[in-house]
Assembly symmetry: D2
Homo-oligomer: 345 residues x 4
C-alpha cells in the first residue's frame, strides 16, 4: 500500500498583502481534490494585485485552549474550589512554565454545571498550533489542582469546553487560535473587470446568502460561502491538523459599498495554525513554508502570525471569487464544466 | 514544487462489521499528520474483533442537497410562487432527469424570509457524493422556475440553506449525505481488558463531556469527542472532499450500561461520501477502494453505502478509544508521549 | 393574597394592515411592566398609518407539533419500525381524528439516534394554539404505535424534538406555530419625519446589529432587536401561553433601501397563538379579542390567523421604532428618561 | 378597556431551601394561564419538604451587560482603539460610578468584525435587574470613548452582543444575570412515593429527552423540559421583565443515581431578576416580595440573590415533577384532563 495519500497541490497567486504583520506579494500552496478551487482563488489573488494596498491582514488575538473537568460534591463545593483556584493563578502560571519553553498560561474561564466544574485554560504557544503543548500543560495543572483540592475528583483531561474540532460558540467568544481579519478595498472598475459583477450586487448577495441564508439554516457563528474549502487546501499544504477547519470555517464575510467601491473582508476568529509541530517536518511542507518566507529566524510567534495572515488572505481570495460568480446566473456551473473538461483533455 | 501534498497514510484494523448493509472484517486506510490517530483507532478495531457481532452499521437515509435563492416583490408573491412550484413537483423531477443519469429529485423544502424565497432541493445521486450533480440539477431547476415565474428574479445558485461545509442545524434535521449509525455492544471483560476502563466510567464520561460539556460550549447538534479526526483521515484516504468534515463531524456518541456490558454507538447524520467523482481516479484511492471491496459492480448507491458504513465504523473505533483513555487520569498524554518518542527513534 | 397578577395594559395604534388575510386599522392591546414599550410601538403604528398600504401580513404556514420518543433494540430495529409507521400514515391520521374535532395530522418527521426513535407529529389545530390537543393526539398515536410495534418501548410523550419553549433550530426549519411575515414600505419623507432617521441608516444598523451582532453572540435563527418585548405584551393581553415567546422571538428583521424608500419586514416563523383555549375565557381577554374583531364566527383557523397577523404587525411597529432610535446617539436613553419621568409625575 | 391584564396567580409550596444564600421554607407565587402548572410545581415542592436539606441553592455569578457598537476605518484601527480602551479600564469604571449609585463596571469583552468594534460591558447593579442602569452607563461610556477616540464613529447603543432577550450563546459563556444552581437529593422511597417513578427511570429520561432530544432539535445551550413555564409564572408574579425568559430558559437539568437515591439539579446561568425597578412598585408585587421576606433591609444585592434562589428552587420543583410524569406512559395527559375537568366544575 502507498505510504502517503497524495493530494494534488498547486501554487496560487501571487497575492498582495499589507498590514501590521507583513507586506509583500506571495504565492500560496493549496492541496485539494477539487480542481476548480485553484482558478477560483487565483481570480481573487489577481484582484488583490490590482488593488493598491492589497489585502490588509490584522491579527487581533491568539491563544490555544484546553478545558478540563472536575467533579465536586455539589455546586457549592465546586464554586468554592473555583474561587480558590482563581486566587492562585500566578502559581498555576508557574506550573505551566515547567512543562514547556513556549507555553504560557494567560487566562482561565470556567463553567459550573450542577456539581461539575469545567476549567478552560488559555495559553500562548509560540509558533506551534499547540494542541499537545496545551494538553501537557493542562495535565500538570490538573495534577496540581487535584493535589491542592482533595475535595475535587478527576473528571476528564478534556471536557469539550475547549472546544477542539467541533461546531460550538465558545471558541469565537472566548478565543481559540489566531483571530485574523483580512480586508480588501476593490475599485469599482476592477470589480467589474475581474469579477464580472458590481459592488452593489456582491453586497446584496452577501447579505442574502451569507448572513440571512446561513441564519435560516440554523448556522452558528458562521456567515460565509466556503471558508472551509480554502482552509482545507491551505492546512493540508502547510502541514496543519486539518480537522481544525471545523472551527476555522466559522467566520464572517462582510461587504459594503464605499464611495462606489467594494469593501470586502473576512473575519476568521479561529485559525489554528503553526509553523512548527506535527506535519511540519515533511519535505514538501518545509519547501512550502520556505517559499512563503516562514522558515526565517524570527521572534517566537512571528512566523505563525505570518502564516495566519497568508491563510486569511487566501480565504478572502476564494470567498470573493465564488461570491462574485454566484451573483451571475449560470456562471458557477459554467466554470466547473470548463475546468473539468480541461482536466479530461 | 511538489505536485502533491503527501499525507502519511496507514491501514488500521481489521474492523469487524455487521448489519443490513455489509458484513465482514476490513482494513481501513487513514491519512493524517497526527500519528496517535492510528493506534487509537486500532485499539477500537481490536475491540470490535473481540465482540461477536462486531460493529453493526445501519444506513437510515441518504440524499444530497442544494438550495437556491429567488427574489420576489414581497412575501405574498414569494408564497404564491412557492405553492405553484410545489404543485408541479413531478415536472421538476423530469427536469432533473434530463441533467444526469443518476440525479433524482426526491424532495423540496423552503424558507420565506421577507420577500426572499429559498428552495432546498434534495436529490439521490447514485454512488457519487453529488456536489456537482446537484449544482447542475439546481441550475436546470432554477432556469425552469424562472421561465415559468417571471415574477421571480435570480438570487443565487446557492443560498446557504443547503448547507455545504458549514456548522448549521439544517443538514441534521432535513438530511444531507448518508445518515449512518454504528453500534457496538462490548462485554464488560473486553472493556476492561482492551480499554482499561469500565462501562460505567465510560458512560459517565460520555454524559459529562460529550453531552453536557459540548452543550455548555454552545455546541450545535454535536456531542462527541473527536469525530472530525477520523473523518479527516478517512476522507483524505478515500478521495473525498474533506471540507465536508465540517458538517460530518456534527454527530452524537451514546453509551449505556446494559446488563453490565457497554452499549456504544455513534450517530452520523451527515456523511458526504462517494465511490465515484473528483479524487476517486487517483491511484492510491483506487487501491484503497479496491482493498475495501468497493470497486465491485453493484447496484448504484450500494458501494457508497458500504463506504459510509466503513467510515462510521472507523469513527466508532476512534471515538471509543479516546473516551476510554480520558476516563483515566494521565493516560492520554502518556500515549501521546509514547507515540511521539516512537516516531523519533 | 391577590388572585391575579395585574399587568399594566394599554391599547396602541391604530395600526394599518393589509394583505391576503385581513385589511383595516386596528388598536392592539399590550400588557407589560415596561412603560416605554407603548410609545415605542405607537410610533411604529403611526408610521404604518402614513404608509398607503400599511403593514402587509402574509401567513405562510401553520402547524403545531409534539414529538414522542420510543426505544428500540438497536438502530436497525428503530429504522424498520419507522419505515412501517410511515407506510400507515393514513391510519395514523384516522387515529388523530378520533381525539378531537379540530386536530388533523398533516406530517411526520423523525430522528434516529442510536437505538432511539423520535417521531415529530405535525397537526393543524383550528383556532387553538393546540398544545393540549397535540399532546392528546400524540398520546393516542403512541398507544397505537406501541400496540402495532411490540418491538418498541415507551420512551416519553415528549422527546424535546417538538420543541416547546426552547431555543432550538427545529421549529424554524420544520415549522411550529404560525409562520407570518409583516412588511412595510416607508417613504423616505415619512421615515425622516416620524422616525428621525434615513432608510440608509436604518438598513446599515440592521445589518450590523441584528445580522452581524447576533451572529457574533452565537445567536440561533435569530436576527432582531427585541421581538420578545412585543410578543410578551401581546401574548399576555390576548391570553396566550407567553412562555412560547422563547421560540416566537427567534425571527428575522430585514431592511432594504428601495428607490430611496425603506422596505422593512419582520419574519416570524413560530407564532404560537390561538383565539380559543386556556386563558381565552377571561373577561379582559374576551374584550380584547372582540375589539380586534376576533370573536366573529369564521371558518376554523381564520380568527387565529388574523390574530397572528395583528401580532406580527405589532412586532414590526416596535422593532422599527427601536431600531430607528438606535441609529441616533443618545435617543434611546432620552426616551426612557422622558417616559419614566412622566410616570413619576 | 381594562387597565390591567389579570393573570391568575396562586401560591405554591412551601418549598424547603438551603445553601449559602438562604435557608427556610417558603411559599412562592406563580401567575399563569396554564392551571396545571400549580399542582405540578406543588408536587416538586412537596418532595423538597420530604428531603432533609431541601433544595440547596448556590449563586455562582452575577452581572448585567450591554454591548455597544463602534465603526472604525478598518480592523487595524478598531484593534488599536480596543487596546487603548482596555488600558484605561479604571477610568471607565469612574465614568460608570458617575451614572448611578449602584452600577459598577466589572469587566469588558469585545469582538472585532471587519471594521466594526463591539464592546460588551459587564456591570453589577445592586438589587436591580439593571437594564436601564446599564443602558445609562453604556451611554456615558460611549460618549467618553467617542470623545477620546475621534477615529471611532457611533454605531449603536446596543449591538446585540449583549445579548438581551435572544437565543444566543454569549450570555451563558460570558455571564448575564444571576448564575444559580439548585440541587436536591431525593431518597429512593420519596421518589417512588411522591413522583411515582424511580431514580433510574428519571435519569434515563433526562439523558434521552433533555440532553439528546434537545441536541437533535438543534438546541443552543439548553437541556431541560420546561424551565420557561416556571420562569414565566415567577417573573410575572414578582414584577420582572418576563421577556427575559428567552435567555433565562437556556439552562441544564442534571440527574444521577447516587447510592440508589436521585441527585437532581437545575443550572440556570441567566436569571435576570431584581427586587427593585420597573414593576416592583405594584401592590401585588410588593405583597409577594414581602411574603418571601425580600423587602427587608439587607446589603445591596442580597435580596435579589435570595429572589434568584427562590426562582431556581421553583424551577427545580416544576422540572422534577414534569419529568417524573413523563417517565410513565399516560400520566401527563391524565393530569391535564383531571385538572381541566376540575376547572370546569
Amino acid at each position: 500500500m502507498s505510504e502517503f495519500a497524495q493530494i494534488p497541490m498547486k501554487l496560487v497567486g501571487p497575492v498582495r498583502l499589507s498590514g501590521p504583520v507583513m507586506e509583500g506579494e506571495y504565492e500560496v500552496p493549496l492541496a485539494t481534490y477539487e480542481a476548480p478551487l485553484w482558478p477560483s482563488v487565483n481570480r481573487g489573488a489577481r484582484v488583490s494585485m490590482n488593488c493598491e494596498e492589497g489585502i490588509q491582514c490584522t491579527v487581533v488575538d491568539e491563544r490555544m485552549t484546553r478545558s478540563v473537568l472536575f467533579e465536586a460534591a455539589d455546586a457549592s463545593a465546586a464554586f468554592q474550589a473555583l474561587e480558590k483556584i482563581k486566587a492562585v493563578f500566578p502559581a498555576l502560571q508557574t506550573v505551566v512554565e515547567g512543562t514547556s519553553r513556549f507555553a504560557k498560561l494567560i487566562n482561565l474561564n470556567s463553567q459550573i454545571a450542577g456539581n461539575l466544574l469545567f476549567l478552560r485554560f488559555e495559553f500562548t504557544t509560540g509558533d506551534a498550533a499547540g494542541h499537545n503543548m496545551c494538553t501537557q500543560a493542562a495535565e500538570a495543572l490538573m495534577n496540581q489542582i487535584l493535589e491542592l483540592h482533595p475535595e475535587l475528583k478527576y473528571g476528564s483531561i478534556s471536557g469539550n469546553y475547549c472546544s477542539d474540532k467541533k461546531a460550538t460558540a465558545v471558541n469565537g467568544i472566548l478565543g481559540r487560535g489566531k483571530y485574523v481579519i483580512a480586508e480588501l478595498t476593490i475599485p469599482e472598475k476592477i470589480c467589474r473587470r475581474y469579477l464580472k459583477t458590481t459592488p452593489a450586487q456582491l453586497v446584496q448577495l452577501n447579505i442574502r446568502k451569507n448572513l440571512i441564508g446561513t441564519m435560516l439554516a440554523g448556522g452558528l457563528r458562521s456567515a460565509n460561502a466556503h471558508f472551509a474549502n480554502m482552509l482545507l487546501g491551505f492546512y493540508l499544504a502547510t502541514g496543519q491538523d486539518a480537522a481544525n477547519i471545523v472551527e476555522g470555517s466559522q467566520g464572517l464575510t462582510m461587504a459594503e459599498v464605499r464611495d462606489g467601491d467594494l469593501y470586502f473582508s473576512v473575519t476568521l476568529p479561529n485559525l489554528i495554525v503553526g509553523t512548527v509541530g506535527n506535519g511540519k517536518g515533511l519535505d514538501f511542507v518545509l519547501e512550502n513554508m520556505k517559499r512563503m518566507g516562514l522558515t526565517e529566524d524570527r521572534e517566537p510567534g512571528e512566523n505563525s502570525r505570518r502564516l495566519a495572515c497568508l491563510c486569511a488572505a487566501t480565504v478572502l481570495c476564494g470567498e470573493l471569487s465564488l461570491l462574485a460568480a454566484q451573483t451571475n446566473s449560470g456562471e458557477l456551473m459554467d466554470a466547473h464544466r470548463r475546468i473539468e473538461r480541461g482536466q479530461k483533455d
